[in-house]
Symmetry: D2
């Protein structure tokens, strides 16, 4: 079978690989129907993610059809249409029992990281019973692919951790796919205002279409002043960090009002200055989280019910064979006006 | 009447001042029976707290007897024995309605800061109905004085914000009065382990007597290793910062386990490094808070019921007239083995 | 001034009364601009509410203009446009401090009950600072009148107590004004399905227009079967009781699924059978509540932000002078297709 | 092997049975070391539990040693010392993922009910990975047996559902083993008062020794008056029902204060009158629950840490061979002053 293989920083090929096999009775082999590329995959390609070794098949998102199910798998059988979670959960360790699948002692983020991933014709999914979800028939396949990672991530790390409530004023720093997923899912809780911040006018335009009540262009270094003005000097109830660099985190620190929340989604490569000399008395809460994907069943129900349309973030479609071209497009997101690209194995 | 007056950095006198008068119908004048000195008062004396101007009577803790109640005061009358909250709450602003009295638009921390305080024979208390509490008769007066500030502070900022639960492993960095108040109130929730950290062996001895299950001496720079060893490498569920300097905050960042809480109590004068390059994926929560004193009624009930003994933190008693001497003792806490000093107006 | 006065069961007149006066410094006199009639007023007229004595001016909802403010009132002054809360809160008692204004030791539901109410040209509001809200300028007056009682009631007793969550299946038994207020505010939390139940097809038609995803007509005694069928036999996550009779409460008991919530809004005159022989093992939560109106500020923000349109429930307008006619219409709600009637003092 | 077998109402024998075998790869066979008898077993013996068929081995509590582990079992191996949970959890169904193991689609309460139980020399445990717990070495075996059922039951259904908080006044109706387990675990949250109610003076004496601050003898029909007097007319914050008959449930309805909680533990055989004509406005919460055993890991930690001593409830020890005699003793609990009896397989 064919797979997208990482061969060290900057090097990847679409190449023939042996088809994956059941290794444990709790595994399933899934024929990939659709997959996508994540910002994290670009980080891997730069060599930033040290756990990913040469020879690894990338990808941790996707939907597919069960090709083979291990003997201990109870919930799935050959032919079942499934959503693959980016987080693998054993379901029995201390962390899984607490719903913190991200820190599963035998799983967590392993796909396309420490084991071969979904950017391939077939993929082995460990602990299938707790790491796959039945795909509802009537749901758009494109919508489903978005539920592998970015929607649970935007929702759990941004919206749930930020404790967005009806009537709140929310600011989301970063209007990339993950920030937009937070924008769409924040609306589950009917905040009064959602202010989106980004450097790219194009993305802010999308944000307005998807429900932002205000947008702030971040180019001129006046984000803090503008947000404070929009909030009558009170600051926001929830600041969601969806970029992952010190400058945007510090914006969050400056715009959060007393009693407010900073919910981090961004992946950071360096420390940030935490202004405790000011924040110590401000009754704020700061949260971090690697997505647990515990909300996947709820997101599936919302998509089924028509109250969430994740496919709105998809800008490009490619054949899985053309994945190298898809990477090219996704790497030049600004020029290509790309948000999420979907790859189809047909 | 006599009062302890701040005359600029390093200068204070015990001097005659005009007796306070009712300024608003919601005020009460309270004859101080007992008061105490807070670490914050020492900061003020160093000139660190810019809101405190020369001529200010210091002090924000105490119990007393109502000497005069304004016409709009409904819950208190002359002769009532009262506990004075360090936080003044109007009861009607947006923040007070949310239980965030610390940010009351017409109050907050004003006593001994922006208006004259409790280190005096008499004190004016604004918004008496919502800023005073009836002192239960059968309760030890010394215990009550501890409920003005340090017990609600240790409990709300440390224990409640840290979400201490039965079975948890808690570390408290700093065994001064506030850390010890957190230690005593953490036991409301029956954690399995409470590890106290301090540089002073004497204070760690007190900590063990007051319920610490483990103590770690912080002198040799190996606090993190020791705590990790005590937790079998897993880190703590809750790290309570009760010092207020970057080094101790960073200890908290290093010892908190996945899914854990860092609850800050310390007053900071400078930023700290937040190691987001590691913490972004650790599902941690960091909280800050200026005490709201919303738990004062509950703490009063617990003292009445005999499940909390705040007077255990009192090491010295002085007459109010000897307050200059009391400041001297409290400033040399280590040498004097002083925790809290109580001043009696008799 | 003129007022609608209760003279015992079945008797009411629109008559001249002395204008109300400030009795306590914390009172305000409000010139009523708009008011409405509540189902509770009809109960009073039947003689069902024993606390209401002859001679009482009815009404506990409305908006108006401050005509006079007592000396201790800080947040309002003559000329301010205000929303009157149906619940009077002293802001200082144990219950008010817990946000349980409904059980305020000096207030609670008193307007049009134990003191004169809002169906008059002027009304005295005790504890004005904590019982009135500034009316935002740009907000439709009709929308505001709905925030005095039915929207906080539907939201707090039904939606908040029912813990409605994204993805949930909610059933609301009763599509009168209060059930419809629950329907509109349940949508703050984006449930997947909202099933409305009523005997009146007309009201179910309104329900569908206002967001119900399914409706069930209750005439034929098959509500339980139909709801169970709609939920694939699983039962609902939240059953909201908005009628107040044993039969509808028992429907809630029968349709709630394991782990679900029954949130009562209805005013009951008799006990109901609680089927503990079945429910003991079903992990259900049953809640009751007299509205606290703690969510009024949030509802005001949502109306301002355009995410809630309470005026959708208003079917009729009358001049305040015509209040007897308005009562007539409201008493024949079915025939008149009446939901809420608004009375204007102009 | 030998087992205690139910042969229809009133009939049980200690008899030879074939040793259990692994049926699914996720099963484990456990050699029983200690077990106990539950009040539910007495109900079964009366014929009250229709799911239990003739020929069934009874018992759903115990500790043991793994004798054989199915191929898919990951967390346990032959020789491991384990605690058996009374609730079997598949770990993968919708309910298990929500932590509602009691309603597991493939498990729940099955042991000694729909499959053979623990009152035997050997027992088959389905879904071993999620239904067994490693027994900490240093913990008293008697303490562990109490964690199979009554401690999680008293804690989850009574204390957690009742939301016991520091400073609360709690009443527990029923001082049998389950009420006493609630009494001991309520103390995790440091309530100010715990009032125990029972008809048996002996049990109330035990209750006082185990931490009750007040006891009320229920014989003379004045429980409500006495509890109201003890609470100064305010009623309790939490009423825990630990009997399971209408009369005691109605006591809970009468003593719960505004804003309070009724937490049901009792197993009911008939409906109760719910006095909605009074409770509708009292902001109360009523909960039911079949124990989920989600708190077993926390209870294990507390026992290890020495903050919980479940063995305090054990009054009698028997050899497993003498189980018929043990049943006799447990059936005459009052006369024998029996609380929990432990059976040892040695």
């Amino acid at each position: 079978m064919k797979a997208l293989v990482y061969h060290g920083p900057g090097k990847k090929t679409w190449e023939e690989k042996p088809r994956p096999k059941i290794q444990e009775d709790t595994d399933a082999i899934v024929k990939v129907v659709k997959t996508t590329i994540c910002g994290t995959d670009l980080h891997i390609m730069k060599g930033d993610v040290s756990t990913v070794k040469e020879g690894r098949t990338l990808g941790h998102e996707g939907i597919g059809i069960i090709d083979e199910a291990g003997k201990a798998v109870k919930n799935f059988k050959k032919g079942d249409r499934v959503l693959i979670s980016c987080i693998t959960s054993c379901g029995t360790c201390e962390f899984c029992k607490k719903g913190m699948y991200s820190h599963c002692e035998h799983g967590g983020w392993v796909l396309g990281n420490t084991i071969d991933g979904t950017q391939a014709e077939l993929v082995r999914i460990p602990f299938a019973d707790t790491s796959l979800y039945h795909a509802p028939k009537e749901v758009n396949e494109d919508a489903l692919v978005m539920l592998s990672d970015i929607f649970p991530t935007g929702f759990e790390c941004g919206v749930l951790n930020g404790q967005v409530k009806p009537g709140d004023t929310v600011a989301i720093i970063g209007s990339g796919p993950i920030g937009l997923a937070a924008l769409l899912t924040a609306q589950f809780y009917s905040p009064a205002e959602i202010i989106m911040v980004d450097a790219d006018d194009e993305r802010l335009k999308v944000a307005r279409k998807l429900g932002a009540t205000q947008t702030v262009r971040s180019r001129d270094g006046k984000v803090v002043e503008k947000v404070m003005e929009l909030t009558g000097g009170r600051g926001v109830d929830v600041a969601i960090e969806a970029v992952g660099v010190p400058a945007t985190f510090e914006i969050c620190e400056s715009i959060v009002g007393p009693g407010g929340h900073i919910a981090n989604i961004g992946v950071f490569g360096e420390p940030v200055d935490l202004h405790m000399e000011r924040l110590w008395s401000q009754n704020v809460t700061i949260t971090t989280r690697l997505v647990d994907t515990v909300t996947t069943p709820m997101l599936l129900k919302s998509v089924e019910a028509g109250s969430l349309h994740p496919e709105q973030l998809i800008t490009h479609h490619f054949k899985l064979n053309d994945i190298i071209k898809a990477y090219e497009t996704f790497s030049h997101a600004k020029e290509e006006k790309a948000l999420k690209v979907v790859l189809e194995n047909r």
